[in-house]
Structure formats: C-alpha cells, structure tokens
C-alpha cells in the first residue's frame, strides 16, 4: 500500500469530521441562543454570562466557530445540565456497554451474513439460495424495533426464557444482539451473494477452470478473494447501520448504552450530551471507514493504479 493512498484517506476522514463539527455548530447557532438552549431555565445570570464568555458568544461567527472548534479538539463538549458533569464523561461511561452490544451484533452479522451469502451464490437457484434470499428480504423489511418487541413477547413474556431488559449476563445480551445483527446480516448476505455471483462470471474464473484447478480451490483461491473486496465496503456501511440501529434497540431492551443516552438526552434536550454523542459517532464512523479503506487497499492491488504505472510493451 502506498502512502499517497493512506494520506488521501486520512485527509478525507478529517474533512468529514470537520464537516460534522461545522454541521453541529451551524445547527447549534441556527436553533437560537445557545446560552438559552444549552443551559437549563434555572441557570443563574452569572452562569449564563460565564457561558457566553466561555463560548465567545459576543464575538463574530468566525471567532465563535474557531472557539468552538478549539474546545472540541480539547475534548470540551460542554456540561450536561442533568448532572452537571462534563458531557464527554457522561458519554464515555456508556461506551463499553454499547461496544459490547455492537461487537456481538457485528459478529452475528458476519457469521450469519457472509457464509449464507456465499452458499446462496454457489447453490444459485437451489433451496439454500431461496432460503437465503427470503431471509434477506424479511430481514430487510422487518423494523428492528418491531422484531425486538416480538422477541420480548415470545421469549420473555410467553416462554419466560430470557430477560426482557437490562444488562448483567450473556442472556441479557442475546436478544438485543440478535435483533441488531440480523437486519445487517440480511444486507451483508445479499451483497455477498451478488458479489460472489459477479466474480463467478468473470473471465479469470474460466481461466482457472481451464488450468485444471478443481472446483473447491477455484472458489477458495480465486472467487472469494475477489468477492471480498466489495463485501468489505458493505460491511463498513452496515456498521453505520448498526450504530443507528443501536439507538432504537437499546431503547427497546433498556440497554444502558450510548444509544439510550442519546434518546434520553434528546427527549430532555440535554444538548451538550447530544452533540458529544453525535461527534463521537462521527469519529467512530470516520475510523471505521478508514479501516475499511485500508483493508480495501490491502485486498485490491489495483488501488495503487495511480502511482505505479509500469512496464508496458
């Protein structure tokens, strides 16, 4: 992998982050007087004045923007008015629970989506294919909050096998993770299938066959490495979906993570926390995309195309 490629991706990631910060800043400004919004109604005039001073609200927009940017970079996202603690701290203590849920869901997504997509493509038109395709359409259509409620109804209310809410044991994790993972698995399976099918029709697959390579090794050595390239992208995109989905799923299962924090903060208009969560998610997504891009560059040598134009007859 060449440094040019990595630098380009880094710059693009930084740009996305900057865009998010700008977006939040504009929303913050456009929605009225931040001092009024960010502080609760009971805030003392002194507190309001301090806030104005702190964020430079009496200065020009450019200066305000720069002040805001500086604060963000220093990790100062303001103070949660609910408990008076720094917003970042409030958010960070929720992160581990959400990561636990997210990673489990991601594992389910990959373990379910990729093999079933591959099998569907290899056995195209057979029952495996139809089962997978039906599963992907169902998974794509069923709202995850509805699926969650159905699961609660069946496994908690009726069968009384699993706890319906909270954390604490692997049993608490099971339903939210499955709910969150299946919808993403549907997309991943569908995409994997189409990607594998695409590769199976490529001329180089025929070359491999003409070379006398047996079927299983043709699939393993030639089809799958090529099919993996676009799948990586869609898995990266689905991680965004997982984060979005976590918001509803955490609410459904009362999973005390960042998603639930976000919903509660929005409901209570605890804006410092809201902006901290949004920026944190943006940072996560940028990192995820960076990892996806780097994986991509590692999987696909053609990425280097721009730099090494070599030996032509």
């Amino acid at each position: 992998m060449n440094p040019q490629f990595v630098i380009t991706k880094l710059v693009r990631g930084t740009l996305t982050l900057l865009l998010t910060v700008t977006f939040v800043f504009i929303v913050l400004r456009a929605s009225g007087d931040p001092a009024q919004i960010m502080l609760s109604d009971e805030a003392s005039p002194a507190a309001v004045a301090a806030f104005r001073e702190r964020w430079g609200l009496d200065r020009s927009y450019i200066e305000q923007y720069l002040a805001y940017l500086t604060a963000i970079i220093q990790g100062d996202f303001g103070t949660s008015f609910r408990d008076g603690r720094p917003a970042l701290e409030v958010v960070m203590e929720r992160v581990p629970v959400t990561l636990l849920l997210g990673f489990t869901a991601l594992l389910i997504t990959l373990a379910l989506g990729i093999p079933s997509g591959i099998m569907a493509a290899l056995f195209r038109g057979r029952w495996v294919d139809h089962a997978t395709m039906s599963f992907t359409i169902l998974g794509h259509s069923i709202p995850n909050f509805f699926l969650g409620i159905i699961l609660i109804l069946v496994f908690s209310m009726t069968l009384r096998w699993l706890p319906s809410s909270g954390t604490g044991s692997i049993w608490h994790l099971l339903m939210p993770a499955v709910t969150l993972g299946t919808a993403a698995a549907a997309t991943v399976a569908r995409f994997t299938r189409s990607s594998v099918l695409d590769v199976l029709h490529q001329p180089f697959m025929r070359t491999a066959k003409a070379k006398g390579i047996p079927y299983d090794r043709r699939i393993l050595r030639h089809a799958l490495p090529n099919a993996a390239i676009p799948v990586v992208t869609v898995v990266g995109m689905r991680i965004g979906g997982l984060i979005g989905g976590a918001v509803t799923i955490e609410t459904v299962f009362a999973w005390p993570g960042v998603g639930m924090l976000l919903v509660n903060s929005v409901n209570q208009r605890d804006l410092a926390v809201v902006q901290a969560v949004v920026l944190l998610i943006a940072l996560t997504m940028v990192l995820v995309n960076l990892i996806v891009d780097l994986t991509y560059g590692w999987l696909d040598p053609r990425i280097e195309l721009h730099n090494r134009r070599a030996a032509k007859t």
Binding site: H201, Q202, P203, F204, R206, T207, A208, K209, A210, K211, G212, I213, P214, Y215, R221, H222, P225, N226, I229, L299, D300, P301, R302, L305, R308, R309, A310, A311, K312, T313
Partner: protein, 346 residues
C-alpha cells in the same frame, strides 16, 4: 492425408507449409456431432472436426457463429445453462458426459486455453508469477524453488523482459500484450500437446498481434504443439493456419487446407468473406463486394441452409439443410457443391 489429396488434385501447393509431427496419426482433439443449446435454441449445430498433433486449425467466422462455444465445449468450459451433446474426444478419451475428474486429468496439462481479453482472463488480485506457479503446482511434481525457476523460464520463453521483476506484477500493471504473453506462459506451463486460442489477438494492437502470432508459431515449431485458433480475421488465418474450418450461424460450412481455401473458396459464404476483405491487393476507393444482410440470431435462423437468405445463388433446393460433404481434402456444406466434380456448379 489431406496433403496427399490436395497435391493429387493439381499439385499447385508445392510450398504448402507442412504440419509438424505428422507421423502421429491419432487426432489430439476430435469433435463429432457437437450441438450446444440454450434451452430450445441451438447455438452450435452438429459440428464435427478433428485436430492432428502439431497442426494449426483455424476456426473462422463472424460473431454469433458459435466458434467460441465450440472451443469451450472442447474443454468443458461452457457456462451454466448451456447444454452440449455429441462427442468430444481429447487424446482418444471421450470427455463429453464424463465425470469432471476425467477432463481435469488433461485440462490445464495436456490441453490448455488462452482467451480474447487477457487482462480480464487473469485474476486481478494475484501476482502473475503466482498464477503461473499455480498451474505448475497443480499438474507437476515440482515444488518450491523449482516452480519459481520454471515460472521464470516460461516468462523468458514468451519474451517477457526482466522476469525477476515482472513475475511479481499484478495483471493491471502490465499491458494487454504482456498479459497475453503471461497467459501463453501459463498455458505452456505443463508442456501441453494442444493449445486452444480463442481470439487471442483481437483485443490487441496490430504490432502486438504480429508479435503474438510470431511467438505462437515459434513455440509451435519448438514444442510440436497443436493449435486450435479462433478468429474472425482472415488475415490472421493467412498468418497462422494449416487447416481452416469456416463457421456460419452455428455450423461448419466449409473446411480444408488453408491454401485451398484462399485460392478457391467453394462455399458461397467463404467466397463472400474473401470478397469483402480489404486486402492490400485491392484498388483503393472501389466498391467492395459486400454480401447483403447480417448473420441471423440463433433464435431466428432460417429453415434449411442458414446462408440461403443472403446467398446470391440460392434456389429452391436451399429450403433443405445441406450436409457437409467431402471430396477428401475439402468439405463443403452447400447444395451446389458436388464432391465428385470437385467444384461448386454455377
């Protein structure tokens, strides 16, 4: 065999290029009554041909005539959904309908194939050296450094410079001509007896085409390998063929030694193909003798002779399907061809 008849018929081909390795009498490839169909539509109909060791057979025809499909069938490489019937014998062994391992025993080792678009025919995410090594590892006992040595030998043999470096390149880092050389190296990896080349120079520039044709001819005389060469370009045929089979709309309409075909095309379609060539012997700016119409789609082929609707000499007889009749050297599928008279009656 064919040679003898040709010379008996007038001896005008004294300079005829003798196929190497004529001592062997067993054909390396023998196709009989091959039909390839997609559902109810026959794409290739009743094709029969054989290839002797060391000779080059050119399969020539316009797009949609089924020449690529014929080659693919020979190696069991048809796409899913296409069905082949008839007989394909490779080195005397029937492969049609045989289990995959029967054909895998020879495919990639004794008989190999190169394709039209060399860049797409190579795996984009594997280094070209590794792709050649894979073929060697699959079919020989060579391992480790010996494989590497062989890869470099092969690349040198097909005229790739600085093999030490180029073997570590990915296909996209090489030009089309270089990729085709890599394909050829891969095809030669296990010293095959038969090479099937499906339009290997069509996507290449004319100077590169000349190099590749030259390379194939040299390799052929060096290794004594038989070549089936698919092309739509009669110029390429003139460059490389010993024998020619002309295909039209899924059938072979004429077959014979290359000189005979160029000197005296007997099927009206072969004649039309020769006529509409724009060779350097033609006076510039003159009207070409263009045959009217186009090759019919497989689903829209006429009853009887497929060429009849475009044929200047067609009459009532052409409602019936002509069979491929042979006078020994030549085989022609035309009602106007009389094997005993040796020429098409006008």
């Amino acid at each position: 065999m064919a040679e003898a008849t040709t010379q008996a018929r007038g001896g005008i081909h004294a300079a005829s290029h003798p196929p190497a390795g004529r001592h062997a009498t067993e054909p390396v490839l023998e196709i009989a009554g091959l039909t390839v169909s997609a559902g109810p539509v026959d794409l290739v109909e009743q094709v029969s041909l054989s290839v002797m060791p060391g000779e080059t057979l050119c399969l020539v025809g316009e797009s949609g005539c089924g020449k690529s499909l014929t080659c693919m069938s020979a190696l069991g490489l048809l796409d899913d959904g296409l069905k082949a019937t008839g007989s394909v014998r490779l080195f005397g062994t029937e492969t049609m309908g045989a289990p995959e391992r029967v054909i895998n025993a020879v495919r990639g080792r004794d008989v190999t194939m190169i394709f039209q678009n060399p860049m797409a025919a190579l795996n984009p995410v594997k280094r070209v050296g590794a792709q050649i090594a894979e073929a060697i590892g699959e079919h020989t006992e060579l391992r480790g450094a010996a494989v590497d040595r062989r890869v470099m030998d092969l690349l040198e043999q097909v005229g790739i410079p600085k093999v030490e470096r180029h073997k570590n390149y990915y296909p996209h880092q090489l030009s089309g001509g270089m990729c085709q050389r890599v394909m050829i190296a891969m095809a030669l990896a296990c010293r095959p007896k038969l090479l099937i080349a499906d339009e290997p120079t069509t996507a290449l520039d004319v100077t590169i085409q000349a190099q590749i044709l030259r390379l194939l001819r040299d390799l052929q005389s060096e290794l004594g390998l038989a070549i089936v060469f698919v092309t739509h370009d009669l110029g390429v045929v003139a460059e490389i063929a010993d024998r020619v089979a002309v295909m039209y709309a899924g059938r072979i309409v004429e077959a014979g030694p290359v000189d005979d075909l160029f000197d005296d095309p007997r099927h009206p379609y072969t004649r039309a193909l020769m006529d509409c060539r724009i060779g350097f012997s033609r006076e510039p700016g003159t009207m070409l003798e263009a045959v009217k119409g186009t090759v019919p789609a497989p689903s829209a082929r006429p009853v009887g002779c497929n060429f009849a609707p475009r044929c200047p000499t067609a009459d009532a007889r052409c409602q019936a399907e002509p069979s491929l009749s042979s006078d020994g050297a030549r085989a022609v599928a035309c009602h106007f061809f009389d094997p005993s008279a040796g020429a098409v009656r006008q």
